[in-house]
């Protein structure tokens, strides 16, 4: 094998460097597939897509639509009782609800528990969740891009558009910063 650097053109060498740098940048942004959390910064307003509306029920059987919250900043959290990382974020979200609810902000929790309210209701009580929780379904998951990894959180702006997506446990500050920018 001839590894002599003299036989490669400088342009190609820099192309290789550019490719490696490109991969590093992309992996640094989205993380290695399957393992790392994904945190995408707030999109520019022009790039935001409308958050799909849904019709899900709360613990009292009341039908809740995402569109009920139009005009508010919504932190839409897909979670489950069996999801440890979700349990870390939930106290943050109750704090955000308390701190920002009077400024046009709300958290909406979408539980993906197969066991339904018999599992979710005691958990909500135990964690003292102070925001609305609804039971999710496959249709809603599909609408939001087949949500599988939990937690998955969508930050939705006052116009009902998705401003950012967070997959997996991310830092509390990232949510707090996003909320403050959107309010």
């Amino acid at each position: 094998m001839n590894f002599s650097a003299h036989s490669v053109k400088p342009g190609r060498f820099f192309l290789l460097l550019a490719l490696i740098s490109g991969i590093a940048v992309i992996l640094g942004t989205v993380g290695w597939p399957d393992k790392q959390p994904v945190h995408k910064p707030l999109k520019n307003e022009a790039d935001r897509k409308k958050a799909p509306d849904f019709e899900l029920k709360d613990v009292n059987g009341k039908v809740v639509h995402l569109s009920d919250y139009k005009g508010k900043v919504v932190l839409l959290d897909f979670w489950a009782t069996w999801c440890g990382p979700c349990g870390i974020e939930i106290p943050w979200f109750t704090d955000f609800q308390r701190k920002y609810k009077d400024r046009g902000f709300t958290v909406l929790g979408v539980s993906m528990d197969d066991g339904g309210w018999k599992d979710v209701k005691p958990f909500v009580a135990e964690k003292k969740i102070n925001y609305q929780v609804v039971l999710g379904d496959d249709k809603t998951s599909d609408q939001y891009g087949s949500v599988e990894a939990l937690p998955t959180t969508f930050m939705i702006d006052r116009d009902g558009r998705i401003a950012s997506i967070h997959v997996g446990l991310v830092d509390r500050k990232e949510f707090d910063d996003a909320i403050q920018k959107l309010l």
């Binding site: 036989s7 399957d34 069996w82 599988e148």
Partner: protein, 162 residues
Amino acid sequence: MPFKNYFRSVSLTIVATLASTLVAPAQMAPELKIEPQATVKTKRGTPATVTLKVSLPAGFHANSHTPTEPNLIPLTLKWTGGPLTDGVIAYPKPLLEKYTFSAGKDISVVTGAFDITTKFQVAASTATGPAAQTGTLRYQACNDRMCFPPKTVNVNVTVSVE
């Protein structure tokens, strides 16, 4: 191999890696695998042991059969049919591990490759010949920062009773 060709190969590999990274879904549930098993040969009126060789991809864990929190979903094997009866299941010894999300607490998990062993009795009245011993294995997997919905995989072991 001249460096020119070497460079071309490296470049193509990098491009392929980059492409697969972009095309692959960002977050996919880990797949628990059960190794195919040789036929379990046994005799009527004797004990029989079935060992499932199970594995999870690196970086993931599943809750053990005895999770530390009540809301966590345990690793559970259920035998649903076949000639072997009265199975006593021995799950792998759990590992107690701390994760980013466990807030300093130990979580009881299984990782990597592990065995689940079931000791059966073969009744004296069992029909002889080959038959399928069937069951399901339910698990719920996470990594350090995210969890995936519980899944159930089918278990199918060929048993030959003499």
